[in-house]
Every structure is written in structure tokens, then in C-alpha cells.
Symmetry: C2
């Protein structure tokens, strides 16, 4: 697969989305953007660029029929604006009729030796759940759960783990090696549980067969393909008859330095709990610029918005107005807008967002129990 | 390991127990036989020949302190007199104070493609549980469960699967390959769940840390060693602090033809539901004989009780009187006792046992629900 290899445990940033789509049979998301109600920026701007079987989901939204949006979170490090991209999608689909299945991948995180289960639980609630709630997630039709303890209802828990336990019958080691490379018992267990995460909303105990959407970054596609294959193999034996899950694929938001936004480098991301004053510094000092060496040169030759991280973040999240965004693009390119000025626009937007968000986050603390039942 | 390789998925019959004990650190069981209350034939006759850490269990029996006997059953085929050896041990330890954890390894059986979960459940109840009850198992302090649905109590189920999900962190692929040879995702999942089967009785939700005895055939020792290693690695991180499980090792009862007693060959075993008339035929026609070609030769040279399956079955199960057994041995060896006569003794014992057992088995049907809660 060469430079378009996608591996959920890899760390390469992925650049050529067109090529990926072609190689892996992911279809263009574009045609849905105009038809969905109140589409997200990510949809309109082709940041959510690809999908598999999204048509079934679009149809459910249009006809107000039941569907599920399922996703997982890895409880590691700070919740940052890269994670917010997925949170916005969860909240969007909840608003438009989806039942939400929100999984804390604590068994996976544990086997990756990130932390003990208690610590992972704390991170999942304080970093992730609180921010989801502050961003607009509501407890209605939202099943927030931990892989390490599926439900307070034994029937549901047993059904979930029964499914996870029967997944391995449908997959070989060679298939797994081709997808995940080097395997450990922990990786194998994680994959089996993840497959159950995606498929179990369709078990009778959880509502029965219906379309399930899993919005992911492109690096998660191997999981989706494997899960679809396994679901297909399960059909017709009288045990499980699942609708093959649908998926969408979004580009990753770049980190401040232009590379990956990484939980292990606080200067690569903006956390939703970052002090707005620190954010100013992070952007001014670290945000990779597409501007020129000197103001004079910038005025003469113009900057490159295509590589400028401040522009990138405005495009992805902080400038919802297409007309204004286009103007920023042309002004930066012409040299009329300087790097410092562009960064200042981003800083104001981010600070304003964080101030409001952090108030909401405080208020969200009262709601946590409703999600944990 | 050469000819003493032991592999839970292998099919080699194991002959040199002394060598195995030496190679794998299994200690001689003999010293306990005389000290245990009402010891089983298997104990007195060195059929249960080895152990690891049985001292802790003997101490619990002596001082009437809490301990667990944990074992699993693979719901495949007919319940036969080979299986009865383990059943007798379960019932013995229950009678002498053990809490019984009796696991139906349906997730393992499913991943081995033996049958669907519903079919496996039916076999587990009708072939195994009914026979256990008829042999004397009582519902008191007996937790009979399926790997595919641990408990009707969600706290317990979640605890069990949480443990299974965290086991893989403590084991590497190389370790697993060294023990199990070729691996499949199904085997790996089965091992993780089996480790949880053995360790979970010590979780707080199931009664907390205490000695756990797992009586097994020698082929299961790799599981035990791995489980002890994993339990040792779990210590001291504030999550799990288990007493290392104890184990005993019994010889296998030979099949009628002298080889392995195999569920796939009905003429290799005597099932506890076999028609007593058919049993006569099975023993007369198929039981491997240590006698001579002709009666004349047998009278002159004597038979070989060491290879005679009828003698073997009397020794293992159907002649509890040591004095009488010794007489059978010497008479057969001297030629005074003919093969047909020896077989006839076994036939009468087996028929008498089966007739009584099958009545008890009918009566046992009323008790099944108490075990399934």
C-alpha cells in the first residue's frame, strides 16, 4: 500500500485523500453535503470527504427513521480541538434523530498500557464526557458506556460480551496481520471488542437491526472494513443478521506546528480546558505560518494559506462564514493580510470559544450522572 | 519438549507421567491421599498423580476454611465415563466444603466451530449438567455458568468480562506461541476467557481472594502455568491480588480400544446415557484385551492386566475394593481368569451403574432450573 498505508496504530499523517478513496473504495461525501439539514462546516467544506454506505443513513435522517451513530473515545490525555471535530458530528447526528452509542475504549487503552482502569474512567469523564456535554450532547437517546462494563442491565452486558466472544470465529490471523501488522494479545482483544462495539447496537437487546453510522478519521478505516466483512460472514446462520455499518471519513485537523495534533505534545494542540491566555502564546509562537520571512517580502509576494495552520484552523472550525473565509484566503495570498494579523483573528475566535465553552463545561458537571445512569 | 509436549489442543496421549512431573515442576500427589477425608479411588490409586500448590487446599479442607474448586466443561458430544472422573472430583470437593465454579466453555467451543451457542447450551445442560446432578452435584454453593453470559447479576458479569479484557496486557504473542503452537484469533480469545474463568472467583464480586483448585488432565497444564504467571504479574498494581491457583493432575482413562477416549468415536467410550445392552456389546467386541490368542495359551502363560482395558476400567472406576482388584490382577496374570470372564465382571458393574444412574438422571431433570437460577 506504500505511502497510503492506513493502520489504526500507525502515526503517519495521511495526505492524499483522493488516492485513499480510490484504493479502498471509499466514496465521495460531497453529494450529501447539500442535501443534509443544517450541514456542518466539515460537510460543506469537504473535510468530511468520504463515506461507505452513507445513503442508508441520509435516508433515515430524511424520513425520520431510526438509526444509530456509534463512536468510541480513547481516554488519553487532554480533549483538544481535534477531538472536537468528532464531538460536533456526534451532536449533529443526535440532533437529527440518531440514537448515540458512545463507547469509552478503556479495555483497548488498558491493553495499550495507557493507564489503569480507574484512571482511564476518570479521564473519560472529566476530559471527554464533560466536554461533549458542554458542546451540546444530551442524555436523551445517548448510551455512554465503558468497554470494561457494558451495562447495569445484565441482559445487555451479557449480549455485548457474547458478541465480542464470538467475533474471533469469523477472522483469521493472516487477515488481522494484513490489517494491523504486528499483533499482540492485547491488540487482538481490542479488535474483537471494537467489532462488538460497532455491531452490538443492532442486537435485539439494544434495539435490533438498523443502520449504524461510524464517523471516523481515515486511519480507522481498516477497523470498519474488517467489521463489515465480519458482519457479512455472520449473516445467514440464524444468529446475527446485521445491516452492514456505514461510515464517514474526515480529514484530520493539523497540529499547531503543522504536523499531527498529538496528545503527547501540548504545543501541538489547543485543549478545550486551555487557559485562553496560554492559547494566545501557543498560536503566536508555535502555529506554523505560510507567511514570508519579512513583512516587506510578504506584502510583495503574499503568503501561502495552503500550509498556514492559523488559516487551516479557521477553515476547519473557527470561521463559519464562507464569504469571510474566502476573503481571508485571498487577502493572505495577496499579502494584504499579515501572518500576525491572521493569527490574531484565530486567537480571538479561539479565546471567545474557550471562554464560553469553559463556562458550559462547569455547568455540565451537574449532568454527568444522567449519562452514567 | 519432544514426546512430552503437552498442548491443550493436541491429541497425543501422554504416557510418561514421571517425566512430565519432572519437566514441568508438578509435584507428587501421593502424600495427600492418606490425609484427605474419604479419599477418592483416583487419589488412593495414584490416578490423580500430581499437583501444584495443593497444600493450600488440603489445609482449607482440614480447617474448614473457604476455598473454591473451579473447572470447565466443553459441551461437545456425549458425557462418558472419562468425563465422570472429573465429575467425581467436583462432587468430592463440594462435599468437603468447596464453593464450586462450573463453567460451560461455550465461547471456546463456538470459536472451535463445534456448534452454535444455542446448540452448545442444550448439550451442556442435557449431557453434562444432568449427569453431574445425577452423580451427586447439588445446587448449594455451586455457580454453574456459561462463558457467553456470566451472570444474571450485571455487577458480576461486568467484573468477569472486565477481567477477561485485561488479561491480554500480561501476556505476549511469543509466550502464547510457545504454549499453544499455531494461534488463531479464536484460540487467543479462548485463552483469555479461560484465564478469567480460573481467576475470577477471587474478584471481590465473587467472594474475594482465597485458594482455588483446578483439577485437570495433564494436557491442561499449560493453561494452568500461564494463568499462574498472569496472576503473579497482576500482583502489586492495586488492581488484582489473587492467590495463585492450585491444580491437580489426573491420568486419562483409556478408551475401549486402548487409545484415547474420543467423543467422535462412540466405540471408544461408554456414555452415561448408553443403553446397558449396547454396553455389553461395546465391551465384549471392542475392549482391548491383554489376554492370549487362545484359552489354552492364556491358561498357560497368563494375561497382561497392564494393557487390558477391562482391567483398566475396573481399576479406575468400577472395582472400589483394593483387595478384590488385586485378586483380579493376579488371577488374570496367572491365567486363572480369562478375558471373557474379566470383561463380564466389568459389564455387570457398568450395567448396574448405568441402570441406577439413568434413573437418577431422569430425577435430576427437576433440579436443572435450580442450577440455572
Amino acid at each position: 500500500m506504500g505511502d497510503t498505508e492506513i493502520n489504526p496504530w500507525g502515526s503517519e499523517s495521511v495526505k492524499d485523500y483522493g488516492k485513499l478513496s480510490k484504493e479502498f473504495g471509499i466514496e465521495n461525501f460531497g453529494k450529501f453535503a447539500g442535501k443534509l439539514p443544517e450541514p456542518l462546516l466539515y460537510m460543506k467544506r469537504n473535510i468530511i470527504f468520504g463515506h461507505r454506505d452513507f445513503g442508508k443513513v441520509a435516508e433515515c435522517i430524511r424520513r425520520k427513521k431510526p438509526f444509530v451513530m456509534m463512536t468510541g473515545l480513547m481516554p488519553s490525555g487532554k480533549f483538544h480541538i481535534g477531538h472536537k471535530m468528532l464531538a460536533d458530528q456526534i451532536i449533529y447526528y443526535q440532533k437529527h434523530g440518531a440514537e448515540i452509542f458512545l463507547c469509552v475504549a478503556d479495555i483497548e487503552a488498558y491493553n495499550m498500557r495507557l493507564a489503569g482502569l480507574e484512571q482511564l474512567r476518570k479521564i473519560a469523564i472529566e476530559e471527554y464526557l464533560l466536554n461533549y456535554i458542554a458542546l451540546g450532547l444530551t442524555p436523551k437517546k445517548c448510551d455512554f458506556y465503558f468497554q470494561s462494563g457494558r451495562s447495569a442491565d445484565a441482559k445487555k452486558s451479557n449480549a455485548f460480551y457474547r458478541l465480542a466472544g464470538t467475533v474471533p470465529k469469523r477472522v483469521t490471523m493472516n487477515e488481522m496481520k494484513a490489517i494491523y501488522g504486528d499483533l499482540s494479545p492485547g491488540k487482538i482483544m481490542s479488535v474483537m471488542v471494537q467489532v462488538a462495539d460497532i455491531l452490538h447496537p443492532q442486537m435485539e437487546e439494544f434495539g435490533g437491526p438498523r443502520p449504524v453510522l461510524v464517523p471516523v478519521g481515515i486511519d480507522q478505516d481498516p477497523h470498519l472494513r474488517l467489521t463489515r466483512d465480519i458482519a457479512a460472514r455472520m449473516k445467514g446462520n440464524g444468529e446475527f443478521d446485521f445491516v452492514l455499518p456505514s461510515s464517514t471519513y474526515h480529514e484530520f485537523m493539523k497540529g499547531l506546528k503543522g504536523g499531527k495534533m498529538s496528545s503527547s505534545d501540548p504545543y501541538s494542540y489547543i485543549a478545550l480546558t486551555d487557559d485562553p491566555k496560554i492559547v494566545k502564546d501557543k498560536i503566536m509562537k508555535y502555529a506554523f505560518s505560510g507567511g514570508r520571512e519579512t513583512i516587506k517580502e510578504h506584502r510583495e509576494k503574499g503568503g501561502d494559506p495552503g500550509i498556514d495552520v492559523a488559516y487551516h484552523m479557521l477553515e476547519f472550525m473557527f470561521e463559519p462564514d464562507d464569504r469571510k473565509l474566502r476573503k481571508l484566503h485571498s487577502d493572505y495570498k495577496s499579502g494584504a493580510l499579515l501572518t500576525g494579523e491572521l493569527k490574531q483573528i484565530l486567537i480571538e475566535r479561539v479565546q471567545s470559544f474557550l471562554e464560553q465553552h469553559q463556562k458550559k463545561r462547569e455547568a455540565a458537571k451537574k449532568q454527568v450522572d444522567k449519562f452514567l445512569k
